[in-house]
Each structure stands twice: as C-alpha cells, then as structure tokens.
Subunit: 240 residues, 2 copies
Amino acid sequence: MDYKDIVENGEQYFLPNLSIDTVIIGYQAGIIKCLLLKIGDKWLLPGGYIKREESVQEATHRVLKDRTGLEHTYLKFLAVFGKQDRQFSKVFEDFFSKAGVNWKADSWLRGRFVSLAYYALVNIAETHPVKSDIDEAFAWFDFDALPEMWMDHASIVQTARVQLTTDIQHEYHAYKLLAEEFTMPELHQLYQVILKENIDRSRFQKKMLGTGLFERLPKLNKNTPGRNPYLYRVKGALPG
Amino acid sequence: MDYKDIVENGEQYFLPNLSIDTVIIGYQAGIIKCLLLKIGDKWLLPGGYIKREESVQEATHRVLKDRTGLEHTYLKFLAVFGKQDRQFSKVFEDFFSKAGVNWKADSWLRGRFVSLAYYALVNIAETHPVKSDIDEAFAWFDFDALPEMWMDHASIVQTARVQLTTDIQHEYHAYKLLAEEFTMPELHQLYQVILKENIDRSRFQKKMLGTGLFERLPKLNKNTPGRNPYLYRVKGALPG
DNA sequence: TCAAAAGTGTTCCTGTTACACCCATGT
DNA sequence: ACATGGGTGTAACAGGAACACTTTTGA
C-alpha cells in the first residue's frame, strides 16, 4: 500500500484518529541509537496505523516488521500521547501536494491522532530499515544528539530514553540490543552506556548470571589479545 | 447529553473507535472495592469517550467527574485493550432497542473500540456515583467477589488489581483511598488488606513517616478505648 | 610476557525482618 | 486496669558498593 492509497482511502483499512509510534532503539559502537525517518526538513518516528481486522498488539508488530523487516521483536508500551493538536501540520499538506498525493480536504489523515507509543529493542546489524514512498531517508541517531522532529516526537523519544534506563534494571532485557550471542564484557559495557555510570564488573557479572536468564556457550575466538570471553545467549533460544 | 444523542450523533462530538474505561477503586470496612454499572444482566466499568476538542488527559478526568462528581482525583494509566472483537455485543443492540434508542445500522457505537484503561483511587464517602440513563444501577463490589461483566472488563479489573499491589509499594499513594485526614493504624490496615499479608506495625510507621509525605495534625477524638491515634494528611494539602 | 577475562574474597554499609519492650492515654 | 496507639531497641540476615587479588588463556 503506497502513501497515495493511504491518504486517499486509508479509512477503509485503518481505524481513524489512532496511530502507533515506535521508538526503535539500537546500540552500535558504544552509542545508543534510535531510528528516524526524514520527511521535509525534519524527522519523525517510524509508525503506522491499526488495521480494522487486527488487534493493537498485532498492529505494533506488523508496523515494526514493515519498517525494519524484524519479527518476534521485543516491544514495550510506553505511553499514550493524546493532546488535541496532534495532527499532521500544514507543512505536511505542502509536502504531500508536491509528492503528487491528492490530499483532499476531508482526508482522514487531516484528523487528530491519538498516538500509542511503544519502544523496541533491536540489534542494528539485523535491522533493515525500509523507507516508505514519502520518506526521504532514514538514519540512526545518537540518543543524545537528536535532530529536530515533527510534532511531539521529540518528547516521545525522551520518554523512551527515561523508561529504558529504569526498565533495564528490573527487566534485564538490554541484551536484546546485542547479537544473539554476546559476551559479558559487551553486556557490561552496554549497561554502563545506558546508565551513564561505571558499574563494578565483578558484581555486575554475578548479578547477571544470578538471574539465571543466560546460558554459557563454548568460547569466543575474537583474535584479541588476552583471554577470550565466554559467549552467552538467552536460555531457551533456539540455536542458529 | 443522553444516550440517545450519543448513539445517534456521538461521532460529531467524540473520536470514534476509542474509549476510556476506568477502574474506580475504593476502600470501605476493610474491603477493597470497585465501582461498576449494570446494563442488562451483567456489569461494566464506568467509562466514556474522548471529545474532539479535549486531550485524552482531560477526557479521563471529565469522564470520572461525570460518573462520580470527583475532581482532582488520582488517575493512573493502566494499559491499552485493543483486541479486534472489542465492540458492543448483539445483546446491547436488544437492550438499546428496548430502551427506545434508535440504534442505527451504521451507528458509530457498533464499531470496534480500542480502550484506554485507567485506574482511580477514591474515597468512597466523597464519591457520588451517577447512573447514566441507560445504566440500571451502580454498585461497589469487593475486588475479590466480582460479578459477571461485559466484554473484557473482568480482565481490565484484574490488571488493575495486580498493578495496584505493585504500585502502592513504590508510589505510596494508597492514602488516596482514605479520607483527607487519616491515622497510621488506618493506613497500616489498608496496606495489609491490599497486600494480603501482615506488615510489622512499627517498621511500617517508620517507613511511611520516613517518606516525608505526611504531616501530623492535632490528635483524634475517636471515643475508642485506649490512646487515640494521631491524625495525618498529605503535606501540601490545603486545610479543610 | 603481556593484556584481557573471569572468578573469589573482604570489608563496610544499608535496609529489612521479626521481635521485645516501654510509654502514653482515653474509657 | 485495660486496651489501644506510639516509640525505641536489638539481633539476624540479605544485599549492595568498592576494592583487592588470583587464575586463566590467547596473542
């Protein structure tokens, strides 16, 4: 379905006034990043709408898959963003017109949208972002160096940033940002980056292994000087 | 606005496909209770819809005020309930017809509704529930002895029950279930009821006062045998 | 031999749990 | 006096924080 179809006939397929925005969080080169799409001169969160025949739960996963190719991804509800003025601005009107989309006066997309915001933890290497036909580009941005964004998307990302730091200390789900097999030094480093503080390596390792979430695999061959770390993965994960 | 108007013209005023359901939680005679409304032979949660010119936040408070007369109440977001089949059942159709409401084939109320569920902590003595014109009755039910409910409302209440027990241990907001002025024995009792376990009185008192949330008032005259307990209220609350 | 990873241990500190008392005070 | 509320104290225990030290192992 291209954007021309969505703008002109979207109400046939989707629930009006309701949208999904997903803060897709990744980790690369010691930096926490977030996937954004460019429209016009600002950026926005990947998102979508809820099909009439699918549940909200299903919609969040479908949207994520459409945008990144990812399936079975960790998705967590963040918050409802529901101010009166949440709608595509006049700037979008110009943009759609230029893109040759018939942006009718009564298009459902002109309406107000209540957004259900989620965040996803992904492995950037396995993520293959897809630009829709109206996005000019996509890019991974450092969480601490975000560009100007449309509507209230900056505050959605901010909410995700805060939520993530509290969540990882209780849910221990940060490993989802790494590859399927990872080392404790990698996990340790990741926590330090997210929490922006030094964590005692020894205690961290004991705590993580104490959760019983992870299982140790045969050693890693990293060709680095010094002893090579063990590889771990989540218990119950299928090999390969 | 009566229900005839809502059924027939609601889409003019409200966002379609989106509803608010509120688990209104109270405490009375040592029992945690929840306010329900009766339609037909089952019960449902008080709720409402989002007006086109108000924010979701405003809508939740307006709905609560309409249903209970309460303002400035503690409301906390619970979860999104968004299965495909969330819509007024055929049973409602009969009910509306009998009630003389013109339930047209294309009424917006036949549509699917995604529900934003919230819970509220209220003082039952100050709460004055209002029956709308289609509700047969309202009643406070013991959280542990709920009647049969419409749609998925039973699981919404269950979610609230679980959420409350974890929240009160971190947010210390359970006092909102009591009168503005309350005693430590009352608060102690309340926590024991919600958590369903005995709590060391002495330690509980130290912990609560240690939060610095409460201020002590002159003594209570309760006409009970023995020493009368101090009264407390939340710091920053206006007298009277 | 060097460097990184992994494991063990020690000390200090804090908070929790489960009590036992004692004091205050209204009927 | 008795019952209830309020405050203090204590001993056992668990866990976190900061740190030192040893062992393993690959280049």
